[in-house]
């Protein structure tokens, strides 16, 4: 047992902290949110330079060959800084499954391009039902002249407007065994219509309408594993990665509360001396202690390649469940000022809530855990 970061992870964390503090102050987060069109690719070149786009991609493609646990360390920091842009979708939702499920040689060039930052990709699974259940995928795939043809509607596709590729789920209703397929689709393929969605974090999610979009046969990502396997692993990794981001975000919220309640005075003393406030903080810190350890345990399981679905669901269930409690206690501690747009707290509040919703909330993962428990 060794329950601390490795030396190289500590260096990664320190470097990330330093970079994010200077390149991504909260003013940048606000500018992204107010005008995503202008700022969308603002920090991208820096991230490429730092090697982040290749963190989890092996050295043979130009990457750093880091583990999933390394990625979690980095995501905790990007979550703390509320790093906007497509780092999460490009790395977690696209690079990881592409790397894991491509057949030998299938996507070598694309992996190199992902490291160099020339191309970006993201995941397109959810549909108007807003669900992560495989059975809710209705986008159809059928054989076409040189490959496949896709028709349907995808919703809540993160960073769709700046991505070059989508890893997209579709069903082949003529196939009895493995109806669910996963496909690489170019964003500029004829028949694609991408429309931005107005979400409460203005984080660049989009709706994609596919009207008889044709892709080559080589763009199927289910040559090695089944579509369900690709999708379930991708979603599992995404849920744990999202936990890491949320963890950083929640830690930042707690630190804001501690700093504020130490200096804000009422009744002639700092409100942080009141037992009610101290106990709010103790509750937040305890929830967070649990969140950190379940997240890192799931990441360790994933990194070692052992069965990890249960541990991952436990992590996302817990981190999702503490998110709501934590933000309410934080707002209660800040009083009226925390409810304003000018105050930074609301930036964290909305993103933590978005994280709770993404890749399965507490209810979704509890259902999976109950299945694992044989209930």
């Amino acid at each position: 047992m060794y329950l601390d970061l490795t030396e190289s992870q500590q260096m990664l964390r320190a470097a990330a902290k330093e970079f994010l503090a200077s390149a991504c102050p909260l003013q940048v987060v606000r500018e992204f949110e107010e005008d995503p069109e202008t700022h969308r690719s603002r920090l991208w070149d820096h991230l490429v330079e730092l090697g982040w786009t290749g963190l989890v991609i092996p050295e043979q493609y130009g990457g750093l060959g880091g583990s999933f646990s390394d990625l979690v360390v980095l995501l905790e920091e990007t979550g703390r800084a509320l790093l906007p842009g497509s780092f999460f979708s490009n790395t977690v939702l696209f690079s990881l499954p592409l790397l894991a499920f491509s057949s030998p040689g299938q996507n070598d060039h694309l992996l190199e391009q992902l490291v160099s930052g020339e191309v970006k990709g993201t995941l397109a699974i959810s549909e108007p039902s807003g669900s992560y259940h495989f059975s809710d995928v209705e986008t159809r795939v059928s054989p076409s002249e040189n490959g496949f043809m896709l028709t349907g509607t995808k919703m809540f596709v993160t960073d769709a407007l700046i991505s070059d590729y989508f890893l997209l789920a579709a069903v082949d209703s003529s196939s009895k065994d493995n109806p669910l397929g996963m496909f690489l689709v170019n964003s500029d393929a004829p028949g694609m219509e991408i429309t931005g969605l107005e979400t409460f974090t203005n984080d660049g999610q989009a709706r994609i309408k596919l009207d008889s979009v044709c892709i080559p046969a080589s763009h199927s990502l289910t040559q090695v594993s089944s579509g369900e396997a690709v999708l379930s692993k991708t979603l599992e990794w995404a849920s744990v990665a999202k936990c890491a981001e949320m963890l950083g975000c929640a830690q930042a919220i707690l630190e804001l509360v501690i700093a504020y309640t130490k200096q804000r005075e009422q009744f002639g003393r700092p409100i942080g001396t009141f037992q009610a406030i101290q106990h709010y903080c103790a509750n937040m810190a305890t929830d967070l202690e649990g969140a950190r350890i379940v997240t890192y345990r799931a990441a360790w399981k994933i990194s070692t390649g052992t069965t990890s679905e249960m541990e991952s669901s436990v992590a996302k269930s817990w981190v999702s469940s503490i998110a709501s409690r934590l933000v309410y206690l934080a707002h209660q501690s800040f009083g009226a000022i925390g409810f304003t747009q000018d105050h930074d707290l609301q930036l964290f509040t909305r993103r933590l809530k978005a994280g709770e919703i993404m890749f399965g909330d507490e209810f979704f993962h509890n259902s999976k855990i109950a299945d694992f428990l044989g209930l």
Binding site: Y2, L3, D4, L373
Partner: protein, 393 residues
């Protein structure tokens, strides 16, 4: 990070598990609070404890120089986890985990030679005399008086909520030796034979009807000077020293895991409204949520043990472990009672009681878990002030 146990640790866990399945009757359903409730049962507990002593497990964490095994905190945590999961008796918190380390740190050679071996062999049962009728969370306010009288002290006053005093041989306690000093400065740490003249022990039955707590009255009780541990008037430092005993709180999640498994089996066989309880989505959600919380509690405990194994003193984390683990036990007890429905009212004496009345016992006892051993309020104060640096004033 690496969450795995070494092969030796896994082997040790298997050995403890095997021992427990062999030595513990299969129908053993008693909880800690009722061990001392019945003479025959307590005799079994003592004998069981002696078997653990023979294995060397009672003093697993004691350094070799004091006759212990010198096992790591993680090994100790594995041991405590397995015993708690089996609801086995023999975890001697007062003797091996509290008094032992105090003696190693503050005792003279003579005191160590006199008092440590009978703890290690399981012969002498110790109880803890800290709380008093007017001293609960504010422990430094204790009033039990110890007057210096030549070669001994004379004690007058009383100790309260003294767990198992009625079946113990001796008590370690905090007494006021200097009434004029500030409250933290006038206390001494003393050892007292419960057979001494002037001691009377009265039961305080708890709301579950069990006899675990007592009030211990001292009426001109003589305690030899040789039983003073540490310096006179410095008992507060002795009692609150950052003792290096295992404090992961692993028993909370271990006990909870066992109960959740029993409830799972119940839910899979009991029908309500035409379907199995386990088929109801709301029941499934509750099980999953509690399972998740047990995992959180267990991992927090492992982290505390691991931190201790590195030489760190995880104060904040230990408070979190106690706070979270005990509140979790309450949530499980409430859920268990919900699941049992009307049958939840049946006591262990009823032949129709599901799970031999265990859930009801746990529910009734659950009110005390967040109070004893440092209330949840005290734990939150520690987390906020010592852990997060919030100001006291």
């Amino acid at each position: 990070m690496d969450f795995s146990f070494t092969p030796e640790e896994d082997r040790f866990r298997a050995e403890v598990r095997q021992f427990l399945s062999k030595e513990l009757p299969s129908d053993w359903t008693f909880l800690e609070d009722e061990f001392a409730d019945d003479h025959t049962r307590w005799q079994f507990v003592i004998e069981f404890k002696k078997k653990l002593a023979v294995k060397g497990w009672l003093t697993l964490s004691w350094p070799k120089e004091f006759g212990g095994v010198g096992a790591s905190h993680l090994t100790q945590t594995i041991y405590n986890e397995e015993l708690a999961y089996a609801r086995a008796p023999g975890r001697d918190i007062f003797g091996t985990r509290m008094l032992g380390p105090v003696l190693m740190l503050y005792g003279t050679n003579d005191q160590q030679n006199q008092f440590l071996p009978p703890i290690a062999s399981g012969e002498i049962q110790w109880c803890q005399g800290y709380s008093e009728p007017n001293s609960g969370s504010d422990l430094a306010s204790v009033q039990l008086q110890a007057v210096d009288s030549g070669d001994h002290f004379i004690l007058n006053g009383s100790k309260m909520w003294t767990s198992r005093a009625h079946v113990s041989d001796a008590i370690f306690l905090l007494a006021r030796t200097n009434p004029s000093a500030p409250k933290h400065k006038g206390l001494s740490f003393l050892l007292c034979d419960l057979a001494s003249s002037g001691i009377s022990i009265e039961p305080i039955p708890n709301l579950a009807g069990m006899h675990y707590f007592n009030q211990v009255r001292f009426d001109d009780v003589k305690v030899p000077k040789g039983n003073l541990i540490g310096a006179k008037d410095e008992g507060w430092s002795v009692a609150t020293a950052l003792l290096d005993f295992e404090r992961s709180g692993i028993e909370y999640s271990a006990e909870a895991a066992k109960t959740l498994e029993e409830l799972t089996a119940f839910a899979k066989t009991e029908k309500r409204n035409g379907m199995l309880l386990s088929e109801s989505e709301s029941v499934r959600q509750s099980f999953a949520s509690l399972y998740t919380q047990i995992e959180v509690s267990r991992l927090i405990s492992y982290r505390i043990a691991w931190l201790q194994s590195t030489g760190a003193i995880p104060n904040k984390e230990a408070s979190m472990g106690k706070l979270f683990g005990t509140e979790l036990q309450q949530r499980i007890a409430v859920f268990g009672m919900q699941l049992l429905g009307l049958s939840g009212q049946l006591t262990s004496k009823s032949r129709w009681a599901p799970l031999e009345g265990l859930i009801l016992k746990q529910y009734l006892l659950s009110f005390s878990t967040t109070i004893r051993g440092g209330t949840s309020e005290i734990q939150r104060n520690i987390i906020a002030q010592r852990g997060l640096g919030l100001p006291r004033k």
